[in-house]
């Protein structure tokens, strides 16, 4: 919402400065977004008088002038044809910035004559395009600033334009008068009366208006007057200037007048060319399918139920949103019908959204104009039209009646302190509400008709606090809910995510936060991309689907880093992925990817390509950090974006998958634009069982002084035997004695023949009550061999 300072002063009697007004507006909740103050750039220009002028000795078109300024007489070389002795001019002394030229004036020497400044033209001061000569003022004292002179003599030239943001609850502030009312209530001046002297009726209109019964809920009241014999044309200069100042283009008076009242009193109006209206006007609902060419010269197809105004030939106006071109005013219009109606905000909002029309009228009606002001608004407009464009006005035509919005709420003076925490005397509270237009009877406050936002007692508190200024609010400590040291507040899930995140970073991964929506191709590759998780209005095709997994976002990020020349990386993300489109169909994941070498090449030969066992180790480390059970199964058969032979699921039973690790499928990688292989992991955080025992106490440490014994075994098994199966079989040989089984060697093929491999394990035997004798060791060794053979078909390697 834009307005000028002088427009504001049309409603507000005030001595406040522009800065005071701007600060108050922001503080009142009418946040100032910008101020254009034309005077600001004119501050350094002062008024001077030319006392003497003669031709430059070396130039025909230049004059050497003696100029009297507040700093004494100075010499200026000037090329303006009107430069002559006796005129009052606008002087720029050396050091002054000239906005129209974008230069700062310096002492100059023009063809051998010194020049100490410049006398300005209107164009040089950006006041107009006039640059045939320098400004000659009809009055003004030497030394007076030009900005002050303009303010006194030609105020529109230095009228500051203020732009404020209006929150949706304040339709009343969409009119300059409403803004003035707020400022007056704050104490920044007094609201001037705004009374209208209605134009007397000269005749009875030969036009009737009706509202269909089924439309009364959307248009409870409609007022209009016919004016005959107006003379349309350009608006008076002041009106044009005000409209231009706020960025509106003056069109013709009959059009401008509606725009002006829209901004002045938040009273949108419509003016029909009465000669183009056939018969009577009827407010009704569109049947659907009617087409109207609106004032913006676009065709709109109406939907059933939208409110329209029709004449005997058809739809002439989209009610409350935009008039029709056919009955719009032109320069030739002589007879007009002025409409002032009240339209229901909700219906206008839906219709405006459906038709995709953003007009000033829609903007205001959907926020709510003052219904009670409907007839008075009409009289204001008719008065201005008749005063400026002449003509005679008919009697008022009325359909429906002003809706009753009367309501009152109890003013509980103590609520301000209990809700806001500000101590404001009751008398001040009542004074504030009265200044805002509330009527107080006892402790009941009746809400003014222009404040649809006030719907309860809390709103009264808000108004009182707002006008008093929230900057005065002093903080008051919020007591603890319970005294003493606060209890921990994070849930198990939150603690796990935190532990997982910090463990991954400790393992050398850089945490990423990638967009939750990804492109359809990537989503589809990772099991998503369906309609349920599709956005209806994505911002781009790169961001069209909710991610089914974190890996696609990480792989896209990896590809971008590869493109920047970073080939080795470890990236991870912690966050939600989506398995459906309903609220709650999301699950928490931790994923990591490793690409390239484990390290940069170095003298130690450290670097090697990352492989799935790196990913496995990292997944295991994170699982361990978040308290996953150590005893797991490693199963195959994860989703097909993994390399079919190089991945594993870390499970607690076939259906309880805690994590997957492995190499990504080469086809997936090439689609995602990744160069070379990549390994990664995904952990389903919510699948990890929470420990049942919450006690801080640990079980006692069972450590024995008896020496442990390590024994190595190598078995020849079929190549497809899983190492874990063999190790588990060995461990099962004597659960009490065997502390650990570790696979330490794998050898495939060679002398063993095709389809065979050798797996070597080291078994640690930890006696608990007596030292092991050779016979004990041999007994358990035999059992280990037996168990392994039984489980894997393997034989001890000779």
């Amino acid at each position: 919402m834009k307005f000028t300072l002088s427009w504001l002063k049309h409603h507000l009697e005030t001595d406040a400065t522009l800065d005071q007004i701007a600060d108050a507006l922001t503080d009142l909740g009418l946040e100032v977004e910008g101020i254009e103050d034309p005077a600001a750039k004119l501050r350094d220009f002062t008024i001077a008088k030319v006392t003497h002028a003669e031709k430059h000795p070396d130039a025909d078109k230049l004059k050497v002038c003696k100029v009297q300024s507040n700093e004494g007489e100075t010499q200026i070389v000037c090329g303006a044809p009107n430069a002559r002795a006796g005129i009052t001019v606008v002087l720029a002394k050396p050091g002054t910035y000239i906005p129209g030229l974008d230069i700062t004036i310096k002492v100059g020497n023009i063809r051998g004559v010194d020049s100490f400044g410049m006398m300005a033209s209107e164009k040089e001061l950006e006041l107009s395009d006039e640059h045939n000569g320098i400004i000659e003022l009809p009055s003004g004292e030497v030394g007076e600033t030009f900005a002050d002179w303009l303010a006194a003599n030609d105020p529109s030239k230095v009228d500051p334009v203020i732009e404020i943001a209006i929150t949706p609850n304040r339709p009343d502030a969409l009119g300059v008068r409403g803004i003035a009312r707020d400022l007056a209530a704050r104490g920044l001046g007094t609201l001037k009366p705004s009374e209208v002297d209605p134009v007397a009726a000269s005749f009875k209109a030969d036009l009737n208006v009706s509202i269909d019964d089924d439309t009364l809920d959307g248009c409870p009241v409609f007022y209009g007057r016919l004016i005959k014999g107006v003379k349309n044309g350009p608006s008076p200069e002041w009106l044009q200037q005000q409209l231009r100042a706020i960025g509106l283009r003056p069109i013709s008076f009959l059009v401008d007048v509606t725009n002006w009242f829209t901004y002045d009193l938040n009273r949108p109006l419509h003016v029909f060319d009465a000669d183009e209206v056939a018969g009577n006007l009827r407010v009704h609902r569109a049947a659907g399918g009617e087409v109207i060419t609106a004032l913006d010269d676009k065709d709109y197809t109406l939907q059933s139920g939208q409110m329209v105004i029709s004449d005997d030939t058809g739809v002439e106006s989209i009610a409350g949103i935009m008039g029709g071109a056919a009955t719009g005013c032109t320069e030739e219009t002589v007879n007009v019908f002025v409409e002032s109606a009240y339209w229901d905000p909700v219906q206008i909002a839906y219709a405006g959204r459906a038709l995709k029309i953003n007009s000033d009228a829609r903007y205001r009606f959907e926020r709510g104009v003052d219904p009670a002001f409907t007839p008075e608004g009409l009289e204001h407009a008719v008065r201005m039209i008749v005063d400026i464009a002449g003509g005679e006005a008919s009697e008022v035509i009325q359909a429906g009646s002003v809706p009753d919005t009367a309501r009152a709420y109890k003013l509980d003076a103590k609520r301000v302190i209990s809700l806001v925490g500000m101590d404001i005397p009751e008398s001040t509270q009542r004074q504030t509400l009265t200044a805002l237009g509330f009527k107080l009877e006892g402790n009941m406050a009746s809400v003014p008709s222009w404040r649809p936002d006030v719907q309860g007692e809390a709103d009264l508190v808000e108004e009182v606090a707002r006008i008093a200024s929230l900057t005065k609010l002093q903080g008051v400590p919020l007591p603890r809910m319970t005294a003493g040291v606060p209890k921990p507040i994070l849930t198990d899930g939150q603690l796990r995510q935190q532990a997982a995140r910090r463990t991954a970073a400790t393992l050398g991964y850089n945490e990423c936060v990638t967009y939750t929506f990804i492109d359809r191709e990537a989503a589809t590759l990772f099991g998503g991309g369906d309609y349920a998780t599709m956005l209806e209005n994505p911002i781009s095709s790169e961001m069209s689907h909710m991610r089914p997994a974190l890996l696609p976002g990480l792989l896209r990020a990896a590809a971008r880093n590869q493109a920047r020349g970073f080939m080795d990386m470890a990236l991870f993300e912690v966050g939600a992925a989506f398995h459906g489109g309903e609220p709650g169909q999301q699950h928490n994941l931790i994923s990591g990817v490793l690409i390239g070498q484990t390290a940069p090449k170095d003298v130690h030969g450290t670097a090697r390509p990352v492989d799935l066992f790196d990913a496995k180790a990292d997944a295991e480390a994170i699982l361990s950090a978040i308290g996953a059970p150590a005893k797991v199964q490693i199963l195959r058969g994860a989703s097909d974006w993994w390399h079919p032979g190089r991945h594993g699921k870390i499970c607690l039973g076939p259906k309880k998958v805690m994590a997957v690790f492995g190499e990504l499928h080469p086809k997936v990688l090439s689609t995602m634009g990744i160069k070379g292989p990549a390994v990664g992991f995904t952990i389903w955080v919510d699948e990890i069982p929470t420990p049942k025992n919450k006690s801080a106490t640990r079980p006692a440490l069972a450590a024995t002084d008896l020496q442990a014994v390590d024994r190595d075994f190598a078995f020849v098994v079929d190549a497809d035997v899983a190492a874990l199966t063999l190790a588990n079989a060995a461990a099962g040989a004597d659960k009490a004695l065997i502390a650990d089984v570790r696979v330490f060697d794998e050898f495939i093929g060679g002398a063993l023949g095709d389809g065979k491999k050798s797996l070597a394990v080291t078994v640690r035997l930890q006696p608990k009550d007596k030292t092991l004798k050779d016979a004990d060791i041999e007994a358990v060794s035999a059992k280990i061999i037996e168990k392994v053979t039984k489980a894997t078909g393997g034989v001890l390697r000779g």
Partner: protein
């Protein structure tokens, strides 16, 4: 006997290696060594002679044994010194590289915020990112026609052709989590709700996804003055300097009264400093929870009241850590992650600093 002593001590001193030492040992004090043989002769001596010769021979044997041991150590030391001299390495060669990971600023700041609010008794609540329009709008006193709905640039999710429910939305704020938490736990309640939120806006200063933390405190007598105190405590702890706030009247459908909150700051040479100067920076929206919102969350507004606020996590991360561009938060450029990221072990705590 003195001859023997000087002979062997001299031989020991000249021994070149461990083998020579062993030879000397055998030669002198071995079973058939010269000194051992002499000791055997003691039996043939008279008691008087024996009393003189015995201790002398024993002393000689001890002395030679000591000399042998000392020489052995000296030789070993010399050998070790020689080996160490040959084991010189160029220690300026680079070490083995260790990959260094990092924590994203959004995670770090979320933990910082959680730590501060935890101390004031707020727990951390989470909720769905795809929301029903009831939780995202209606429950927050934003009915279907409300202009705020259009102003929020909402993302909608797809609906089947035969589905006539209102379309679900990507939550435009974390306020739905407030509603769900109040429904589940009732009052009194103190929570913060951090998380991803979505608005269809993409330019220099907006990304279609960003992170927000909202706070909610409901009790019998919580006022806006408590809100101001909580926010000033929060900002001061977060920025590590006393930060004043300025409340300005504003409007949000879900609070009443509502206030925009500015924090005190200064601009010096294009550098923003929070907590000093006389400038103000708008960072936060807040207010007293609207009675209709409490009603929607099944809390009796006649018994309970309280405040709510919302602030951008990315925004305050940028302010505190001097990160210039919001868009870079979500680009995963390794250079950015390493530069603006945090060490894994730099866990924010109140006692250790944030």
């Amino acid at each position: 006997m003195d001859d023997l002593k000087s002979k062997y001590l001299s031989l020991v001193a000249d021994a070149a290696d461990e083998a020579a030492i062993e030879d000397l040992r055998v030669q002198a004090v071995g079973k058939k060594g010269e000194i051992s043989l002499k000791m055997r002769e003691l039996g043939k001596m008279s008691p008087e002679e024996r009393q003189v010769a015995g201790p002398a021979l024993n002393a000689l044997k001890d002395e030679i044994n000591s000399a042998l041991a000392a020489k052995k150590v000296a030789l070993a030391d010399a050998a070790l010194d020689e080996r160490l001299r040959s084991e010189w390495l160029d220690v300026t060669l680079p070490s083995r590289d260790r990959r260094v990971g990092s924590i994203h600023p959004i995670s770090q700041v979320t933990e910082e915020v959680s730590a501060i609010f935890a101390d004031m008794g707020f727990s951390v609540a989470e909720g769905p990112q795809i929301e029903s329009d009831w939780y995202n709008f209606d429950a927050l006193n934003i009915p279907g026609h409300h202009p705020a709905r259009a102003e929020m640039d909402t993302f909608y999710t797809h609906r089947g052709a035969d589905d006539d429910r209102p379309p679900h939305v990507l939550r435009t704020h974390t306020s739905p989590v407030q509603i769900r938490s109040m429904e589940a736990n009732g009052a009194p309640i103190r929570i913060i709700c951090p998380g991803r939120v979505y608005r269809a806006d993409y330019d220099q200063t907006h990304t279609p996804m960003f992170n927000q933390v909202e706070g909610l405190a409901i009790d019998k007598d919580i006022s806006m003055a408590n809100l101001k105190w909580v926010l000033e405590e929060f900002f001061s702890a977060y920025f590590g300097a006393r930060v004043k706030t300025r409340f300005r009247a504003s409007h949000f459908p879900f609070t009443e009264p509502s206030a925009e909150v500015d924090i005190q700051c200064s601009w010096v040479d294009g550098q923003l400093k929070v907590g000093e100067g006389d400038g103000w920076l708008e960072v936060l929206g807040s207010g007293m929870v609207h009675p209709k919102v409490l009603q929607a969350a099944k809390i009796d507004p006649d018994l309970w009241q309280g405040f709510a606020f919302g602030v951008g996590i990315d925004r305050i991360a940028m302010l505190k850590y001097g990160i210039p561009d919001l868009r870079a938060f979500f680009d995963s450029d390794l250079r950015w992650l390493r530069h603006y990221g945090f060490s894994a072990l730099k866990v924010p705590t109140l006692h250790g600093g944030l």
